[in-house]
Symmetry: C3
Subunit: 132 residues, 3 copies
């Protein structure tokens, strides 16, 4: 099995900063140079990299995704969470990040965000590291 | 050349479940642990991971992409298939999936979907596996 | 540090073809078979793969992203560039491309595009190659 890290979301829609837990896993794996793939094994949640400084940025992304994919609409899926599935595919199911010197290589303003669209729930992220 | 798997779509817009052909390729490659990258070498088709249980989910994603990127609009590209190009970039050109124990690691409800936006056509998917 | 390639954008919104600089880096690295990850360390720019033949395709994608995420809206982020952040997450922060025979493997019509959404600026792309 891949490494599985449990996380818990607290809102219906939420961008959760998972950068620290991913960095901690990489530090413990003692991989110096390579790639980290962070994979979301869910279909109503996604993952993205965006600004970690001002929380208003995440709020604006979530609000705008809601405008693009409104909760109320003519969806066929009986469970009623089609908007969450659509948003998940718009954000994507994994991110790939370079590891150098034992650390995730992110831009100054970047953080890795788990994108909850059908919470709150107990979720998992899976990580696989490949050494260079 | 990377491994090339031919597929055929049957609709103008269609989500085609390619999970079995990707799994079969990985089983034959006898890679136990690593990463699989599934790449779409086309510009009017994409790839995504989403629910495989209820086909209404794929129908809702396709229908909603059509609302976000309508066929009729003021597009400049003379071939008339700009909406397909736009949808392709919204979904993305590749997915990366963890391999453990010789098997694709997907969540319970996840499948890998080739996203046809300008079919029906004969298409290809390319696969590259890296062992851990 | 990962390999860093500086680029300069010249427009507010622009798709810049970076295929040649990525190919040149791979040629110099003398990696025959593997994967290349091209990563954007910015939060108001993304990266995508789409058609390189007719520039109208890129123009249509940019114009339509502007329709989906208009500059004028009720955004909270005080810097005023929330639309650029939202578009960055819609396109994604990295692409993964197969390398075979020392060359990027792209479809006939595909090019790799740096997606500037808040330019013009001096930017960087980061590249990591893993050999098969």
């Amino acid at each position: 099995m891949p490494a599985q890290l449990p996380i818990a979301t607290t809102q219906k829609s939420q961008f959760l900063d998972i950068t620290p837990v991913v960095q901690e896993y990489i530090s413990e794996a003692k991989i110096v140079d390579g790639l980290a793939v962070v994979f979301v094994p869910h279909t109503t949640a996604g993952i993205t990299i965006n600004e970690h400084a001002d929380p208003d940025v995440r709020a604006d992304i979530l609000t705008h995704l809601e405008k693009i994919v409104p909760e109320k609409g003519t969806y066929r899926h009986a469970e009623g969470n089609s908007p969450a599935h659509i948003k998940a595919s718009l954000m994507g199911s994994s991110v790939t990040v370079i590891i150098s010197g034992g650390r995730l290589q992110l831009g100054t303003w970047q953080g890795i965000y788990f994108c909850e669209f059908d919470g709150p729930r107990h979720r998992n992220i899976w990580i696989r590291i490949l050494a260079k």
